[in-house]
């Protein structure tokens, strides 16, 4: 019966998904006719935990919202707190933050490219991309001390400087990727099999991207020149003059499919390299933090009163932190995080409709979803769903044993 519509549930835990989320697809034969998305499985109550800790502890908690965005979240949080408390950041620290943010973009986009190649069944390309990704991770390890959680931003500046001896290493990394980027673009974008699997797949029309408030590379692939670094400049991005990258830079009219999303992300690697190079040249000498002494910082933050919003263009799109501070209280009164995946979630629906079942993994991966960044709330509809906690289940089990011992039947 070809007109019969079936429902296929995928997730929350599924090999094609990197993180927990549940899709319910309505399929007619091989074609997807509709999709329902249920997030919330990676909710850990981080904002509530943050409201029980002082601001310095919150900084490291925010770093652990997501392992890949471990620069984006602390930078956004520090921007929010600095606005709320009226802290000035020295120019050199602003440049250093930009350098680290762009290094993170390079490694995050290369990670995505590898994942995308893997979803297409092109594992050679996965291993190649992840092999070259090691270079930027090594550099981050060299500059910050550790490979994933960098612990670099702090309120009022950064914790570690880039010394003159380290500058040649950064330049060597830029040269390494400049030499490789053409090969990578060639391997991804001029490969006929990659093109056949990604062209016309998961299309997000510009009007839909606009009305569904898509952000980051997802929106730019549909041709919207939307980039927080360009639209609402912060740190030194205003001086650097960042331009949003759309597939037009590659000489193509944007179609909003998976291919265009790969174009945007790979070209942004080159853009980040340019930004890092300019930062190294333009970075002034001077202080790297306005609070060299931690007790002074803690005392200042305790007195601070007000609210602040921080925004940043993370590799996946716009991330926003809202913070409210009250004088005399060390903990933030409100801390709210809006991660890019939250904005991009709804764009999945038009991307999935009328595609084939076999395209589900690559379309799901194409927005570069990050559930642990996004899941700030878990909704339970008590009227239609029953949820039994462990204690309740144990109580029921014990009650049954007792009943049987007393010679009673099932309840």
């Amino acid at each position: 019966m070809p007109d019969q519509v079936y429902e296929i549930p995928i997730g929350p835990i599924h090999p094609a998904l990197k993180e927990p989320i549940r899709f319910t697809f309505k399929v007619e034969g091989e074609r997807i006719r509709g999709v329902d998305i249920r997030p919330g499985f990676a909710h850990r109550g981080i904002e509530y935990m943050g409201m029980k800790r002082n601001l310095i502890q919150v900084l490291y908690l925010s770093e652990r919202i997501c392992g890949i965005c471990s620069i984006s979240h602390p930078i956004t949080l520090t921007l929010a707190v600095e606005r709320a408390a009226g802290i000035e950041v020295p120019p050199r620290a602003q440049y250093l933050r930009v350098i680290f943010a762009e290094l993170e973009r390079v490694h995050s986009h290369l990670l995505w490219a590898g994942v995308a190649a893997h979803e297409l069944g092109f594992d050679t390309l996965l291993h190649l991309t992840w092999k070259v990704r090691e270079k930027v991770l090594d550099l981050l390890e060299e500059l910050s001390g550790n490979r994933i959680d960098y612990a670099i931003p702090i309120y009022g500046g950064v914790r570690r400087d880039i010394t003159p001896e380290q500058v040649p290493q950064v330049e060597a990394m830029i040269r390494y990727y400049r030499g490789l980027l053409d090969e990578l673009l060639d391997a991804f974008l001029r490969d006929p099999s990659v093109e056949a699997r990604t062209r016309g797949v998961g299309v997000l029309a510009p009007e839909e991207a606009d009305s569904l408030c898509a952000v980051g590379p997802t929106a730019r692939a549909s041709g919207l020149a939307k980039d927080v670094r360009q639209d609402r400049p912060y740190l030194v991005y205003g001086d650097l003059g960042v331009k949003a990258i759309t597939p037009r830079e590659w000489g193509l009219e944007p179609r909003g499919d998976v291919y265009d999303k790969a174009v945007v992300r790979l070209l942004e690697v080159g853009q980040s390299l340019d930004l890092i190079e300019r930062c190294l040249v333009e970075m002034p000498e001077g202080e790297i933090t306005s609070f060299p002494k931690i007790p002074a910082l803690l005392a200042y933050l305790k007195k601070a009163d007000g609210e602040g919003l921080g925004w940043h263009e993370a590799p996946r799109g716009e991330v926003i932190h809202y913070i409210r501070l009250e004088a005399g209280v060390e903990e933030p009164v409100v801390w709210k995080v809006k991660a890019p995946t939250y904005s991009n979630l709804m764009s999945w629906v038009p991307m999935f409709v009328d595609q084939e079942i076999a395209d589900i993994p690559i379309i799901a991966a194409s927005i570069d979803p990050c559930m642990c960044c996004m899941d700030r709330v878990h909704m339970v509809d008590a009227s239609s769903e029953a949820m039994v906690q462990k204690e309740e289940l144990l109580r029921l089990s014990r009650a049954k044993t007792e009943r049987i011992c007393r010679g009673g039947g099932p309840a």
Partner: protein
């Protein structure tokens, strides 16, 4: 281009450092025992970068018991010993941000390059610093 890379890969050494031995020993602890007895050689780990943040080293003599490290620690690693006015650190909880090192007013704390910290017991002596 990919084919060329793949072909050259056949003749290049693996990028992975084969730590602790070229081939995985049946028992790592047994192998480390043999290394100590001088019967086997260890393939050394990749050197850590100069600013590496590993297990926190504690100088008990310098510590003045100000408890500033306890206030900034995000993972609640540090326990205060009120009688001696010193601290005890439970490394099993540590997130290696080294914020305590920055906060310490008398430089009693330092980030050491020590990173081989796996243990089956979170209360083992290797994971308690005091």
């Amino acid at each position: 281009m990919i084919l060329k890379t793949l072909f050259s890969q056949l003749f290049t050494r693996p990028a992975t450092n084969r730590f602790p031995a070229k081939y995985m020993p049946k028992s790592v602890l047994g192998f480390l025992g043999k290394v100590q007895a001088g019967k086997a050689t260890l393939v050394p780990p990749v050197p850590v970068p100069p600013k590496f943040r590993g297990k926190i080293a504690y100088d008990r003599e310098k510590c003045i018991g100000c408890q500033l490290c306890i206030r900034v620690c995000p993972a609640k690693v540090i326990e205060f010993l009120p009688e001696e006015k010193k601290i005890r650190m439970h490394v099993a909880r540590c997130t290696f941000c080294a914020q305590c090192v920055d906060a310490c007013p008398v430089d009693a704390l330092a980030a050491s390059p020590d990173f081989l910290l796996s243990d089956t017991d979170r209360h083992s002596t290797a994971l308690i610093v005091e």
